[in-house]
Point group: C2
């Protein structure tokens, strides 16, 4: 099968016209926003032109369906509040171009998926999570965004398009093309990454409670200072993780709130975020045990109270071997020696779809590892290589 690079790149650039940020190639296209819905309407036309039957489900997931059994290929066209032009949009256009090229070549049958709210305006990969059955529609409808709008209200904006949920049984598998979002491929000068697995995530809030006091009159030995507790916790945790983690393991505290937050008051309460990711479920559990033991030890030593928020847990997901190896074989044909097998440190729709059918992912390089930023970009030669690897893999699967 022959892909059409010009048609592929042209559609990719036309798509970034919806919600264009005016800064570089960036886009502002959050789920269910006017630009997001306009982009999906335009994509629906492209899918129809490709001979696909357009279908929207009740939560805004968009499909271009081929008749009979087919391979599903796609990603998501919604973006972060300050998003890049590729991210999930690349995977959707890859699916569209593959469907066109495959139809021109007489098969195989390709359907296209464009999931809704992957970027988590409401939940986390909301649309594909609901489709996979991991989140009920009733639960989802109560989710709110930062401005207090509910998912129920938001999906109302696409209600006029909505049919039922698509039966996953018609799909033989799912392939998602996405930018890496990390630095590995770019720094190695490689063109393709074959995802072995999508890492699991653990995320929770931790709160130390101490005693709010005057920063001038309270002697150090008498303080129950929650900031000092946080600093001690973070330092101990880094030491104790060393014997457990791999070079791919990551852990992050991205939010800290000290109360009352004044220069002259010893903070009586400190709430902070603790998130860790790894491809191995046992390692995630060992890290959780270390986190809880260390926090308790710090609290006991300093006379602090300790509270935990809800633990968000997403399990690691292995990619399906047949699809994964077809992508690997195709990469070796298209860009020999310039590809690698790698983990996905970011969550993707494929992690949800894997609950319904065999799923695999293909990464292209992110320049300087930048994503979720207007500056996000990938060399167009690498975009074309990614498209060719996808097409070759699908051809080889026959």
């Amino acid at each position: 099968m022959q892909i059409n690079p010009d048609r592929f790149l042209s559609d990719l650039h036309r798509l970034r016209g919806f919600g264009a940020s005016g800064v570089g190639k960036g886009v502002v296209r959050p789920a269910f926003s006017d630009p997001d819905i306009a982009a999906r309407d335009w994509l629906a036309e492209r899918m129809a032109e490709a001979g696909l039957t357009v279908h929207h489900d009740p939560v805004g997931n968009q499909f271009g369906l081929a008749p009979g059994p087919s391979l599903l290929v796609g990603s998501h066209s919604d973006s972060q509040p300050e998003g890049g032009w590729l991210d999930g949009a690349l995977g959707v256009i890859c699916g569209l171009e593959l469907a066109r090229a495959s139809a021109e070549a007489g098969g195989p049958a390709i359907s296209v998926a464009n999931f809704q709210d992957e970027e988590g305006r409401f939940g986390v990969t909301t649309g594909s999570t609901i489709w996979s059955g991991a989140l009920s529609l009733d639960q989802a409808d109560t989710l709110t965004d930062r401005d207090g709008a509910t998912f129920a209200e938001a999906r109302g904006a696409m209600a006029h398009l909505a049919g039922g949920f698509v039966d996953p049984a018609q799909f033989t598998g799912f392939i998602e093309v996405h930018i890496e979002q990390g630095p590995w491929l770019f720094e190695a000068g490689e063109a393709a990454g074959i995802v072995t697995d999508i890492v699991g995530i653990r995320d929770m809030r931790i709160t130390f409670t101490g005693e709010q006091n005057h920063a001038g009159t309270t002697p150090m030995h008498r303080r129950r200072d929650t900031f000092q507790g946080l600093a001690a916790f973070a330092a101990l945790l880094n030491e104790r993780f060393q014997n457990v983690v791999t070079p791919q393991t990551v852990w992050t505290t991205g939010h800290v709130d000290l109360h009352p937050g004044a220069h002259s008051i010893v903070p009586g309460r400190c709430t902070f975020s603790m998130q860790w990711r790894d491809g191995n479920g046992d390692r995630l559990a060992r890290m959780e045990a270390i986190i809880r033991d260390t926090a308790q030890e710090v609290a006991d030593a300093r006379g602090l109270g300790l509270e935990y928020g809800t633990l968000l847990g997403l399990e690691p997901v292995d990619m399906a071997a047949p699809l994964r190896e077809a992508l690997a074989g195709a990469a070796e044909q298209v860009c020999p020696g310039r590809w690698r097998r790698m983990q996905s440190g970011a969550l993707h729709d494929a992690a949800n779809v894997a609950k319904l059918m065999p799923a695999a992912m293909l990464f292209v390089p992110s320049i300087n590892g930048i994503s979720h930023d207007f500056a996000e970009d990938t060399d167009e030669a690498d975009l074309i290589i990614g498209m060719q690897v996808l097409a070759q893999a699908v051809a080889d699967l026959r």
Copy 2:
């Protein structure tokens, strides 16, 4: 001279009626608020009844002036947004009762001071700072509170009362009675603290700048994580201070701001407050050098940028020996063995007034060391002892 404990306590309780919080004995009486001005109007009547000439200066400082040379005694009646009933109000009523008792005893001449905005709605000990000459009226007028109101606007609420600034040359000295705000006297079961000096304060914001990144796809070795920088800085600082500090030295980080403050984003910027206090100017300077060296070392080791905000510097202030020793001698007469010499870890109006005349301070115990809280309190027996120590010291000064 004989003080009148009932009259003293009665006025103290009447004063807490202005801006009563309804929670315990707490008050809400910020500088220039309606309750603050009403309290000052009521105090003006008490001063006049005591035979003093009431005078307000352009910045809301209130005086009850005795004719000729006099000893100035007082503090401030404004409170924190959530303040205790004593704090500075105690010192003002002590001055009032002393003026009455002294007049009844035929002298010595006592004037009363009630400074404005000691609690720093606008600056830091604003009223007495301006009177001391350390801050010009023009500079002060541009200061704003949390809601953006300017000092110029606020002092307009007392403009109808305002005369000129009072000539400090008429005062032979200044004595301020205040609650300790710390735990030392209460824990030792002592009744009086004779302040040897008011500690100096250094305060600045420190900002680490790194690289904002995806918390899933950015490997640890490639991160420039400003939270990790803060944690490393805090841990190193505690170690390095050990050889420099005394049991009275304190240092505090009460505010931390991570940007953008999301669970899934490596924080690219961290701004935090660093405040340290000590009675010795050289030690404050040594601590500053350690702070700057340690921050630079952490920044260099982690590839972070480093910026400092304005350094607020208040020098330590020694209390005047003659007044201080008169208070010490009186304490030994009134509560033998139940008093101590001690530092003030908190800033007070006396630190400013000391630039104009000999100044001294007397502390009474704070139950559980609590202050700037509705729960702030002191045993009334200890309040009376404090009043008696003040009166005895003034009598002995003749």
